[in-house]
Amino acid sequence: MSKVLIVDDTAFMRKLLKNILFGAGFDIAGEAENGKQAVEMYKGLKPDVVTMDVVMPEMTGIDALKQIKTHDKDAKVVMCTAIGQENIVKTAIKLGARGYIIKPFQAPKVIEEIKKVIGE
Protein backbone atom coordinates (compact mmCIF):
# COMPACT_ATOMS: atom_id res chain seq x y z
CA MET A 1 0.00 0.00 0.00
CA SER A 2 1.45 3.39 -1.03
CA LYS A 3 2.11 5.95 1.69
CA VAL A 4 1.26 9.61 1.17
CA LEU A 5 2.57 12.62 3.05
CA ILE A 6 0.01 15.44 2.94
CA VAL A 7 1.37 18.99 3.17
CA ASP A 8 -1.03 21.91 3.52
CA ASP A 9 -1.29 24.77 5.99
CA THR A 10 -5.07 24.47 6.37
CA ALA A 11 -6.38 21.63 8.50
CA PHE A 12 -9.52 21.49 6.40
CA MET A 13 -7.61 20.81 3.17
CA ARG A 14 -5.50 18.16 4.90
CA LYS A 15 -8.65 16.45 6.19
CA LEU A 16 -10.21 16.58 2.75
CA LEU A 17 -7.17 15.06 1.02
CA LYS A 18 -6.80 12.48 3.78
CA ASN A 19 -10.39 11.41 3.30
CA ILE A 20 -10.10 11.19 -0.49
CA LEU A 21 -6.80 9.27 -0.42
CA PHE A 22 -7.67 6.97 2.47
CA GLY A 23 -10.96 6.16 0.77
CA ALA A 24 -9.04 5.19 -2.37
CA GLY A 25 -6.86 2.75 -0.43
CA PHE A 26 -3.75 4.84 0.23
CA ASP A 27 -2.03 4.94 3.61
CA ILE A 28 -1.48 8.37 5.09
CA ALA A 29 2.17 8.53 6.18
CA GLY A 30 1.68 11.87 7.91
CA GLU A 31 0.53 15.46 7.68
CA ALA A 32 2.68 18.58 7.63
CA GLU A 33 1.41 22.13 7.90
CA ASN A 34 4.33 23.99 6.33
CA GLY A 35 7.27 23.38 4.02
CA LYS A 36 9.84 23.12 6.79
CA GLN A 37 7.87 20.44 8.60
CA ALA A 38 7.34 18.64 5.28
CA VAL A 39 11.09 18.37 4.62
CA GLU A 40 11.73 16.96 8.11
CA MET A 41 8.83 14.53 7.87
CA TYR A 42 9.87 13.40 4.40
CA LYS A 43 13.31 12.42 5.72
CA GLY A 44 11.81 10.51 8.63
CA LEU A 45 8.79 8.88 7.04
CA LYS A 46 10.06 8.20 3.52
CA PRO A 47 6.61 8.38 1.91
CA ASP A 48 5.98 7.09 -1.61
CA VAL A 49 4.43 10.38 -2.65
CA VAL A 50 3.95 13.88 -1.24
CA THR A 51 1.00 16.18 -1.95
CA MET A 52 2.48 19.66 -1.56
CA ASP A 53 0.51 22.87 -1.20
CA VAL A 54 2.24 25.88 -2.77
CA VAL A 55 1.40 28.83 -0.55
CA MET A 56 2.34 28.09 3.06
CA PRO A 57 3.95 30.00 5.94
CA GLU A 58 7.55 29.43 7.10
CA MET A 59 8.58 27.65 3.89
CA THR A 60 6.65 27.61 0.61
CA GLY A 61 5.83 24.45 -1.27
CA ILE A 62 8.32 25.37 -4.00
CA ASP A 63 11.17 25.75 -1.48
CA ALA A 64 10.17 22.51 0.25
CA LEU A 65 10.11 20.75 -3.13
CA LYS A 66 13.67 21.98 -3.83
CA GLN A 67 14.92 20.69 -0.46
CA ILE A 68 13.17 17.35 -0.77
CA LYS A 69 14.59 16.84 -4.28
CA THR A 70 18.06 17.75 -3.01
CA HIS A 71 17.71 15.09 -0.30
CA ASP A 72 16.13 12.50 -2.62
CA LYS A 73 16.26 13.13 -6.36
CA ASP A 74 13.68 10.38 -6.94
CA ALA A 75 11.10 11.91 -4.59
CA LYS A 76 7.60 11.93 -6.01
CA VAL A 77 5.99 15.26 -5.22
CA VAL A 78 2.59 16.34 -6.51
CA MET A 79 1.88 20.07 -6.24
CA CYS A 80 -1.52 21.35 -5.11
CA THR A 81 -2.31 24.62 -6.85
CA ALA A 82 -5.28 26.86 -7.43
CA ILE A 83 -6.77 27.67 -10.81
CA GLY A 84 -4.74 30.46 -12.40
CA GLN A 85 -1.38 29.37 -10.95
CA GLU A 86 -0.14 27.84 -14.20
CA ASN A 87 3.22 29.61 -13.89
CA ILE A 88 3.84 28.07 -10.46
CA VAL A 89 3.05 24.64 -11.91
CA LYS A 90 5.60 25.21 -14.69
CA THR A 91 8.25 26.22 -12.15
CA ALA A 92 7.49 23.19 -9.97
CA ILE A 93 7.67 20.78 -12.90
CA LYS A 94 11.07 22.25 -13.85
CA LEU A 95 12.21 21.66 -10.27
CA GLY A 96 11.19 18.02 -10.43
CA ALA A 97 7.55 17.85 -9.31
CA ARG A 98 5.96 14.77 -10.87
CA GLY A 99 2.45 16.18 -11.21
CA TYR A 100 -0.12 18.63 -9.93
CA ILE A 101 -3.68 18.71 -8.68
CA ILE A 102 -5.92 21.73 -8.88
CA LYS A 103 -7.91 23.25 -6.05
CA PRO A 104 -10.80 22.97 -5.47
CA PHE A 105 -10.10 19.24 -5.46
CA GLN A 106 -12.24 16.70 -7.25
CA ALA A 107 -11.75 13.25 -5.75
CA PRO A 108 -11.47 11.26 -9.03
CA LYS A 109 -8.85 13.67 -10.41
CA VAL A 110 -6.81 13.58 -7.21
CA ILE A 111 -6.80 9.78 -7.16
CA GLU A 112 -5.99 9.55 -10.87
CA GLU A 113 -3.01 11.90 -10.54
CA ILE A 114 -1.58 10.20 -7.44
CA LYS A 115 -1.91 6.77 -9.05
CA LYS A 116 -0.25 8.08 -12.20
CA VAL A 117 2.68 9.48 -10.25
CA ILE A 118 3.12 6.34 -8.17
CA GLY A 119 2.91 4.28 -11.36
CA GLU A 120 -0.05 2.13 -10.39
Binding site: F12, L16, N19, I20
Partner: protein
Protein backbone atom coordinates in the same frame (compact mmCIF):
# COMPACT_ATOMS: atom_id res chain seq x y z
CA UNK B 1 -41.63 42.07 -50.29
CA UNK B 2 -41.23 38.33 -49.95
CA UNK B 3 -38.45 37.00 -47.79
CA UNK B 4 -35.78 34.65 -48.97
CA UNK B 5 -36.55 31.08 -47.88
CA UNK B 6 -33.41 29.38 -46.56
CA UNK B 7 -34.91 26.05 -45.71
CA UNK B 8 -38.17 24.16 -45.85
CA UNK B 9 -38.43 20.84 -44.03
CA UNK B 10 -40.92 18.53 -42.36
CA UNK B 11 -40.28 18.56 -38.60
CA UNK B 12 -42.05 17.64 -35.40
CA UNK B 13 -42.92 19.97 -32.53
CA UNK B 14 -43.63 18.75 -29.03
CA UNK B 15 -46.74 19.71 -27.13
CA UNK B 16 -47.34 16.81 -24.77
CA UNK B 17 -46.99 14.66 -27.90
CA UNK B 18 -45.29 15.02 -31.27
CA UNK B 19 -47.05 17.08 -33.93
CA UNK B 20 -46.02 17.00 -37.61
CA UNK B 21 -45.51 20.42 -39.14
CA UNK B 22 -43.56 22.07 -41.92
CA UNK B 23 -40.76 24.40 -40.86
CA UNK B 24 -39.91 27.28 -43.15
CA UNK B 25 -36.80 29.29 -42.28
CA UNK B 26 -36.64 32.74 -43.86
CA UNK B 27 -34.32 35.71 -43.36
CA UNK B 28 -36.29 36.98 -40.38
CA UNK B 29 -38.74 34.29 -39.33
CA UNK B 30 -39.34 30.69 -38.42
CA UNK B 31 -42.71 29.63 -39.74
CA UNK B 32 -44.29 26.44 -38.41
CA UNK B 33 -47.73 25.87 -39.88
CA UNK B 34 -49.77 28.92 -38.87
CA UNK B 35 -47.26 30.04 -36.26
CA UNK B 36 -44.79 32.73 -37.20
CA UNK B 37 -41.82 33.33 -34.91
CA UNK B 38 -39.71 36.39 -35.72
CA UNK B 39 -36.04 35.44 -35.12
CA UNK B 40 -35.45 38.72 -33.29
CA UNK B 41 -38.06 37.71 -30.71
CA UNK B 42 -36.30 34.45 -29.81
CA UNK B 43 -34.81 35.02 -26.38
CA UNK B 44 -32.88 31.80 -25.95
CA UNK B 45 -31.89 28.61 -27.72
CA UNK B 46 -30.73 25.26 -26.38
CA UNK B 47 -29.99 21.73 -27.50
CA UNK B 48 -32.22 19.48 -25.38
CA UNK B 49 -33.18 15.84 -25.30
CA UNK B 50 -36.91 15.02 -25.35
CA UNK B 51 -38.06 11.40 -25.14
CA UNK B 52 -34.60 10.27 -26.20
CA UNK B 53 -34.53 12.52 -29.25
CA UNK B 54 -32.10 15.37 -29.81
CA UNK B 55 -34.16 18.55 -30.20
CA UNK B 56 -33.84 22.32 -30.41
CA UNK B 57 -35.61 24.33 -27.73
CA UNK B 58 -36.35 27.96 -28.48
CA UNK B 59 -37.68 30.40 -25.93
CA UNK B 60 -40.08 33.17 -26.89
CA UNK B 61 -42.43 33.80 -23.97
CA UNK B 62 -43.08 30.05 -23.93
CA UNK B 63 -40.70 27.25 -24.86
CA UNK B 64 -41.01 25.53 -28.22
CA UNK B 65 -39.42 22.17 -28.96
CA UNK B 66 -38.41 21.29 -32.52
CA UNK B 67 -37.30 17.86 -33.68
CA UNK B 68 -35.54 18.16 -37.00
CA UNK B 69 -34.16 15.54 -39.34
CA UNK B 70 -30.64 14.81 -38.00
CA UNK B 71 -28.94 16.23 -41.10
CA UNK B 72 -30.65 19.62 -40.60
CA UNK B 73 -30.40 19.93 -36.81
CA UNK B 74 -27.03 21.67 -36.66
CA UNK B 75 -27.74 23.88 -39.66
CA UNK B 76 -30.95 25.23 -38.14
CA UNK B 77 -29.40 25.55 -34.67
CA UNK B 78 -26.54 27.59 -36.11
CA UNK B 79 -28.88 29.84 -38.11
CA UNK B 80 -31.03 30.61 -35.07
CA UNK B 81 -27.96 31.13 -32.84
CA UNK B 82 -26.62 33.76 -35.22
CA UNK B 83 -29.97 35.53 -35.63
CA UNK B 84 -31.78 35.42 -32.28
CA UNK B 85 -32.49 38.44 -30.09
CA UNK B 86 -29.05 39.37 -28.77
CA UNK B 87 -26.35 42.00 -28.75
CA UNK B 88 -23.60 40.72 -30.99
CA UNK B 89 -19.98 41.89 -31.03
CA UNK B 90 -17.29 40.98 -33.54
CA UNK B 91 -14.43 39.47 -31.51
CA UNK B 92 -11.70 36.89 -31.42
CA UNK B 93 -12.34 34.27 -28.77
CA UNK B 94 -10.57 31.33 -27.19
CA UNK B 95 -13.32 29.15 -25.81
CA UNK B 96 -12.34 26.70 -23.02
CA UNK B 97 -8.74 28.00 -22.85
CA UNK B 98 -8.39 26.12 -19.56
CA UNK B 99 -10.56 23.34 -18.14
CA UNK B 100 -10.25 22.67 -14.40
CA UNK B 101 -7.14 24.86 -14.38
CA UNK B 102 -5.43 22.81 -17.07
CA UNK B 103 -4.58 24.48 -20.38
CA UNK B 104 -6.64 22.86 -23.17
CA UNK B 105 -4.29 21.68 -25.88
CA UNK B 106 -7.08 21.67 -28.49
CA UNK B 107 -8.35 25.21 -27.85
CA UNK B 108 -7.59 27.80 -30.51
CA UNK B 109 -8.45 31.43 -31.17
CA UNK B 110 -11.44 31.84 -33.44
CA UNK B 111 -12.79 34.84 -35.31
CA UNK B 112 -16.49 35.29 -34.70
CA UNK B 113 -19.00 36.95 -32.45
CA UNK B 114 -19.59 37.27 -28.73
CA UNK B 115 -23.35 37.43 -28.35
CA UNK B 116 -25.16 38.42 -25.16
CA UNK B 117 -28.77 37.58 -24.38
CA UNK B 118 -30.78 38.01 -21.17
CA UNK B 119 -30.19 34.33 -20.40
CA UNK B 120 -26.47 34.08 -21.05
CA UNK B 121 -23.84 34.55 -23.71
CA UNK B 122 -22.65 32.81 -26.84
CA UNK B 123 -19.40 32.19 -28.63
CA UNK B 124 -20.31 32.13 -32.30
CA UNK B 125 -18.14 31.19 -35.22
CA UNK B 126 -18.57 29.22 -38.41
CA UNK B 127 -17.63 25.99 -36.63
CA UNK B 128 -18.61 26.74 -33.04
CA UNK B 129 -21.88 27.91 -31.48
CA UNK B 130 -21.43 27.61 -27.75
CA UNK B 131 -24.04 28.82 -25.26
CA UNK B 132 -23.05 29.62 -21.67
CA UNK B 133 -26.07 30.14 -19.39
CA UNK B 134 -25.65 33.13 -17.09
CA UNK B 135 -26.08 30.91 -14.00
CA UNK B 136 -22.90 29.08 -15.07
CA UNK B 137 -20.86 32.28 -15.08
CA UNK B 138 -18.38 32.39 -12.18
CA UNK B 139 -16.44 35.59 -12.78
CA UNK B 140 -15.67 38.30 -15.31
CA UNK B 141 -12.45 40.33 -15.42
CA UNK B 142 -9.93 41.81 -17.82
CA UNK B 143 -6.33 40.65 -17.79
CA UNK B 144 -3.18 40.81 -19.88
CA UNK B 145 -2.49 37.63 -21.84
CA UNK B 146 0.00 36.61 -24.46
CA UNK B 147 -1.83 36.55 -27.79
CA UNK B 148 0.27 35.85 -30.86
CA UNK B 149 3.44 36.87 -29.03
CA UNK B 150 2.04 40.20 -27.78
CA UNK B 151 0.63 41.12 -24.37
CA UNK B 152 -2.99 42.02 -25.04
CA UNK B 153 -5.83 43.02 -22.74
CA UNK B 154 -8.52 40.34 -22.90
CA UNK B 155 -11.79 39.58 -21.18
CA UNK B 156 -11.41 36.51 -18.96
CA UNK B 157 -14.66 34.64 -18.30
CA UNK B 158 -14.74 31.74 -15.89
CA UNK B 159 -17.76 29.51 -16.20
CA UNK B 160 -18.80 26.05 -15.13
CA UNK B 161 -19.13 23.20 -17.56
CA UNK B 162 -19.86 19.62 -16.49
CA UNK B 163 -18.69 20.46 -12.94
CA UNK B 164 -15.39 21.89 -14.19
CA UNK B 165 -14.32 25.51 -13.92
CA UNK B 166 -13.55 26.59 -17.47
CA UNK B 167 -11.82 29.81 -18.55
CA UNK B 168 -12.55 31.43 -21.90
CA UNK B 169 -10.93 34.54 -23.36
CA UNK B 170 -12.35 37.29 -25.56
CA UNK B 171 -10.20 39.74 -27.54
CA UNK B 172 -11.70 42.88 -29.11
CA UNK B 173 -11.13 46.66 -29.16
CA UNK B 174 -10.50 47.96 -25.65
CA UNK B 175 -13.61 50.16 -25.55
CA UNK B 176 -15.82 47.16 -26.41
CA UNK B 177 -13.93 45.04 -23.88
CA UNK B 178 -14.64 47.49 -21.06
CA UNK B 179 -18.27 47.81 -22.05
CA UNK B 180 -18.65 44.00 -22.13
CA UNK B 181 -16.94 43.63 -18.76
CA UNK B 182 -19.30 46.16 -17.17
CA UNK B 183 -22.36 44.66 -18.78
CA UNK B 184 -21.51 41.07 -17.83
CA UNK B 185 -20.60 42.14 -14.28
CA UNK B 186 -24.04 43.69 -13.89
CA UNK B 187 -25.74 40.64 -15.38
CA UNK B 188 -23.68 38.38 -13.09
CA UNK B 189 -24.50 40.43 -9.98
CA UNK B 190 -28.19 40.36 -10.91
CA UNK B 191 -28.25 36.57 -11.21
CA UNK B 192 -25.87 35.48 -8.47
CA UNK B 193 -27.46 33.87 -5.41
CA UNK B 194 -27.98 36.40 -2.64
CA UNK B 195 -26.24 34.56 0.17
CA UNK B 196 -23.27 35.18 2.43
CA UNK B 197 -21.64 31.93 3.47
CA UNK B 198 -20.17 31.17 6.87
CA UNK B 199 -16.78 29.43 7.11
CA UNK B 200 -18.57 26.12 7.82
CA UNK B 201 -20.81 26.53 4.79
CA UNK B 202 -17.86 27.34 2.54
CA UNK B 203 -16.12 24.17 3.73
CA UNK B 204 -19.21 22.05 3.21
CA UNK B 205 -19.64 23.47 -0.29
CA UNK B 206 -16.00 22.61 -1.07
CA UNK B 207 -16.44 19.08 0.28
CA UNK B 208 -19.53 18.55 -1.86
CA UNK B 209 -17.63 19.81 -4.92
CA UNK B 210 -14.85 17.34 -4.12
CA UNK B 211 -17.33 14.52 -4.52
CA UNK B 212 -17.57 13.40 -0.90
CA UNK B 213 -20.75 11.75 0.30
CA UNK B 214 -22.89 12.78 3.27
CA UNK B 215 -21.21 10.39 5.73
CA UNK B 216 -17.70 11.55 4.79
CA UNK B 217 -18.71 15.20 5.13
CA UNK B 218 -20.28 14.51 8.53
CA UNK B 219 -16.98 12.96 9.54
CA UNK B 220 -14.70 15.70 8.19
CA UNK B 221 -16.86 18.59 9.34
CA UNK B 222 -17.46 16.93 12.72
CA UNK B 223 -21.20 17.50 12.52
CA UNK B 224 -24.28 15.52 13.42
CA UNK B 225 -26.67 14.37 10.69
CA UNK B 226 -29.23 16.99 11.72
CA UNK B 227 -26.68 19.81 11.69
CA UNK B 228 -25.42 18.84 8.25
CA UNK B 229 -28.98 18.47 6.97
CA UNK B 230 -29.65 22.06 8.08
CA UNK B 231 -26.60 23.27 6.16
CA UNK B 232 -27.67 21.26 3.11
CA UNK B 233 -31.15 22.81 3.25
CA UNK B 234 -29.65 26.29 3.33
CA UNK B 235 -27.37 25.56 0.37
CA UNK B 236 -30.29 24.13 -1.61
CA UNK B 237 -32.64 26.99 -0.67
CA UNK B 238 -30.05 29.54 -1.75
CA UNK B 239 -29.63 27.96 -5.17
CA UNK B 240 -26.02 26.85 -4.62
CA UNK B 241 -26.88 23.15 -4.62
CA UNK B 242 -29.70 20.86 -5.65
CA UNK B 243 -31.08 17.63 -4.23
CA UNK B 244 -30.15 14.63 -6.39
CA UNK B 245 -30.90 11.77 -4.03
CA UNK B 246 -32.66 11.25 -0.69
CA UNK B 247 -31.29 8.33 1.29
CA UNK B 248 -33.06 6.36 3.99
CA UNK B 249 -31.51 5.33 7.30
CA UNK B 250 -33.43 2.40 8.80
CA UNK B 251 -33.08 0.00 11.70
CA UNK B 252 -34.42 -3.51 12.04
CA UNK B 253 -37.69 -4.36 13.74
CA UNK B 254 -37.76 -7.46 16.00
CA UNK B 255 -38.97 -9.43 12.94
CA UNK B 256 -35.97 -8.21 11.01
CA UNK B 257 -33.57 -9.12 13.82
CA UNK B 258 -34.98 -12.66 14.08
CA UNK B 259 -34.68 -12.98 10.28
CA UNK B 260 -30.98 -12.08 10.51
CA UNK B 261 -30.63 -14.64 13.30
CA UNK B 262 -32.06 -17.29 10.98
CA UNK B 263 -29.86 -16.18 8.10
CA UNK B 264 -26.74 -16.51 10.24
CA UNK B 265 -27.64 -20.09 11.16
CA UNK B 266 -28.13 -21.31 7.59
Amino acid sequence: MTEKVHLRAPIKTYDGGWVDVELVVTDNNLVMGKRNIPLKEIEDLEDVEVEGASCIQIKKEDKIILKLPPNLHQQVFKFIAFNLKADKFAVFFLESATVGGVVSSGAQWEKGYFSVTDEGFWFLSARNQKRIPIENLGSVKTDLRNVGGKQRKVLVLSHVEKSNVVTSLVLCPESTLEMLEGYLQRLFEKHKPAITLSEDEMQILTLIYSGLDFASIENIAGMSTDELNTYYDRLVDSGLAKVVKIRKEIELTPHGVSMVDKISKR
